[in-house]
């Protein structure tokens, strides 16, 4: 069988299925919204924040909405099945909340043209697929600024997950802003190749502490590194959620994801018939990316400087990646006054000048 025919065949069955469901739904029925989670809400990080947003959405709309969740969905073949089942269950809007769901989401979207999809941190477009993500690098600039001020050993530790643009961008952003306030600041990066693995995160934290780091940042989800920082008496930042239980020390601030405003807006758009596919990359100004309260362990002057930076980014008067900037190998990247395009940021796969260590490829 030719692939073309195969696609046409499945697309046709999908349309029949989808239109069959559409006739079932009457105006009085609540809007069904589906969610696919990579983990369980108890991870305290990534999935937890999506779950919080879902709960806020339910609270906001009351009985005008009905949500359906499938947890622990591995990226790949299983995701395609889970997303399809949400479509079959009558969901009209589906949030797929991890990068690895991108190809499955696109595949299912072809079969269900009447269902709207919201793909978190993806980049492939389709008429019924929107991509959304947070400009977390903006938040990382603010905590980079605090880290640069606070380090005494001039060594900042960074527990990194995977060498993908999202993570590389965060490291570069934090490093640039630490350097701006502390020209001697160095960034030490450990790659753990996981988003969530408390023992590994703790090991990485210990290795960084042993090498003289006195401020710790992380892109991983758990609080394991935070506990190590507490034992060692150094400073650290919360990730994804606030991790307030470690304030005021070691947790001096945090970077948080708050998806609720976006989720509520998109569900409202579907209800009003105004939903269109678009790519949204949402920053500090939208409330999606939040910098957690800066604790009392940080001197007032440092706090004021960090908040001023936060407000400039929020107002749009300062772009985090503004030239002149060179790549790590010394080659020119941005001319003076030039700001990085979103396309360049989304594909960022190099360190900026001044970073030590090699980016794994």
């Amino acid at each position: 069988m030719k692939r073309r025919d195969f696609l046409a065949g499945t697309a046709a069955t999908g349309t029949v299925l989808a239109s069959g469901l559409a006739t079932q739904a009457s105006a009085a029925e609540p809007l069904k919204v589906g969610f696919i989670y990579l983990g369980v809400p108890g991870d305290g990080g990534w999935t937890y924040e999506h779950e919080q947003a879902r709960l806020k959405m339910v609270k906001h709309f009351g009985n005008k909405i009905e949500t359906k969740v499938i947890q622990n969905v591995p990226e790949g073949a299983d995701a395609e099945r889970s997303i399809t089942q949400l479509c079959l269950a009558g969901c009209k809007l589906i949030f797929t909340t991890s990068f690895g769901y991108m190809d499955p989401t696109i595949n299912v979207a072809k079969k269900f043209p009447n269902v709207k999809f919201e793909m978190c941190t993806g980049y492939k477009d389709a008429p019924n697929v929107s991509n959304y993500g947070g400009r977390f690098y903006q938040g990382r600039a603010v905590i980079g600024n605090i880290a640069g001020h606070m380090t005494k050993t001039n060594k900042i530790g960074y527990i990194a997950t995977f060498p993908i643009p999202e993570v590389v961008r965060g490291i570069n952003s934090a490093f640039l802003y630490a350097r701006k306030v502390n020209p001697k600041a160095e960034m030490k990066v450990v790659w753990v190749n996981t988003w969530f693995d408390p023992p590994k995160e703790a090991d990485a934290a210990q290795a960084l502490i042993d090498s003289g780091v006195d401020v710790l940042m992380q892109h991983t989800d758990s609080t394991a590194a935070m506990a190590k920082a507490k034992d060692a008496g150094i400073l650290a930042f919360g990730q994804d959620s606030d991790m307030m239980q470690y304030a005021p020390k070691p947790r001096i601030s945090s970077i948080m994801d708050n998806w609720a405003p976006y989720y509520i807006q998109r569900a409202q758009d579907v209800m009003d018939g105004k939903w269109t596919a678009k790519d949204s990359w949402l920053g500090i100004d939208t409330g999606i990316v939040q910098v957690g309260e800066i604790s009392s362990a940080v001197p007032a002057a440092v706090k004021a400087d960090a908040m001023a930076l936060h407000d400039r980014i929020k107002a749009g008067t300062e772009h985090v990646f503004t030239g002149p900037l060179n790549k790590q190998d010394g080659s020119a990247w941005l001319k003076a006054g030039e700001t990085a395009s979103d396309g360049a940021l989304l594909g960022m796969n190099f360190y900026v000048e001044g970073m030590t260590g090699k980016l794994p490829s």
């Binding site: 692939r3 065949g9 073949a77 190809d103």
Partner: protein, 361 residues
């Protein structure tokens, strides 16, 4: 007082009754758990076992998906069952599955984007070879140096996972992937795509191969000297040696066979439902297949049924999550109960329960 008395021979009648008994016990215990969680137990159990097969909304999609999910489980489990009968413990099917997929992907990428007819057959050979070669490492070490194949094959799973991760981030990374990890998606490369053979049935070459494996496995086991040899080798190694069975040769054969089956399963998965090598490509089929092999009592037909049952609990579990808001952990606990009871009541086919009066002291 209850005592267990070993039966001279395993009871045939009980061997058939115990799986049914186990399912009933699981329904009772699982129903209690669902009731404690505040869900209607009858509805929950109906959703898991009935809806994937007969619910009008889901069945037309989920019935074929049962085959897609059971295919790799059955194929790997049949391969493993031969070795297990001969007391050859290949625990590393997961690693062989990964290596088969990587070898097949290597072939596909080498020929990309040509459309020669032989690309797919060559990938099949490469997949089988990849799994076979990975399984021959513990076989060689055992035959040559007497190492323990359980440990070596298991440890090689972690090596394979790291190779997989390296491939996804390094040599096999999609050059058009915006810097994100993961290979090209073979679903978009017709010559290499393991697509559905008949649209809407879920049948792909991997499912067909799993079916063939069941038939060939049955013939080998019941009608061929090879099946006789492994049974004897498992039950009476000395007798087998007198009968002219070379234990080293048998060991290599069983390891190689199970490795090739696992490699094939990986190949069909990466070329079809999964599409890509990513760092999360393997989702545990190689380990679950060990359970499936034992649930099926190491018999090809039993393995086929066990594989379908496992697939049913996965897919029914997802439907239960989305339609009853059951958490993923409850579904996993339910699956665990099923295995627990299946293995637990197994005692009845090997032992007889006797009620004895306690002797007066």
């Amino acid at each position: 007082m209850l005592t267990l008395e070993k039966r001279p021979n395993p009871s045939r009648a009980w061997a058939i009754v115990t799986p049914i008994l186990a399912v009933i016990l699981t329904m009772i215990a699982g129903g209690l758990m669902f009731a404690v969680l505040g869900k209607d137990p009858v509805e929950a159990i109906r959703t898991i076992f009935w809806d994937p097969l007969f619910n009008a909304q889901f069945a037309s999609y989920s019935r074929p998906q049962l085959l897609v999910k059971a295919g790799p489980l059955v194929l790997i489990a049949v391969g493993l069952s031969f070795g297990f009968r001969a007391s050859i413990w290949n625990i590393g099917a997961e690693g062989q599955y990964i290596m088969g997929a990587i070898a097949a992907m290597g072939v596909a990428l080498a020929f990309y984007p040509t459309n020669y007819w032989f690309v797919f057959p060559l990938m099949v050979l490469a997949g089988a070879f990849g799994g076979w070669a990975w399984a021959m490492i513990p076989a060689f070490l055992k035959n040559r140096y007497g190492t323990n194949e359980i440990l070596v094959s298991l440890m090689l799973v972690y090596v394979a996972e790291n190779i997989e991760s390296w491939m996804a981030f390094g040599p096999m990374r999609n050059p058009q992937g915006m810097g994100f990890p993961g290979s090209r998606n073979l679903q978009q490369y017709p010559a290499a795509h393991n697509s559905e053979l008949i649209a809407g049935t879920g049948l792909h070459w991997g499912v067909v191969t799993a079916g063939l494996a069941v038939i060939i496995g049955y013939v080998l086991l019941k009608r061929h000297i090879f099946g006789f040899n492994i049974q004897v080798a498992g039950q009476a190694p000395r007798a087998a040696r007198f009968a002219g069975v070379d234990p080293k040769r048998l060991f290599s054969l069983c390891m190689g066979l199970s490795g090739a089956c696992a490699g094939l399963a990986g190949m069909f998965e990466v070329a079809g439902p999964a599409g890509q090598i990513t760092d999360s490509f393997n989702v545990g089929y190689g380990f679950t297949a060990i359970i499936v092999a034992y649930l099926g009592r190491l018999h090809p037909i039993g393995i086929l049924l066990a594989g379908l049952l496992m697939a049913l609990t996965y897919i029914g579990g997802e439907i239960a999550q989305l339609s009853l808001n059951l958490p993923a952990a409850a579904i996993q606990a339910f699956q665990g109960m099923l295995l627990f009871f299946l293995l637990g009541v197994d005692v009845l086919s090997n032992y007889r329960i006797r009620i004895k009066r306690r002797a007066q002291a």
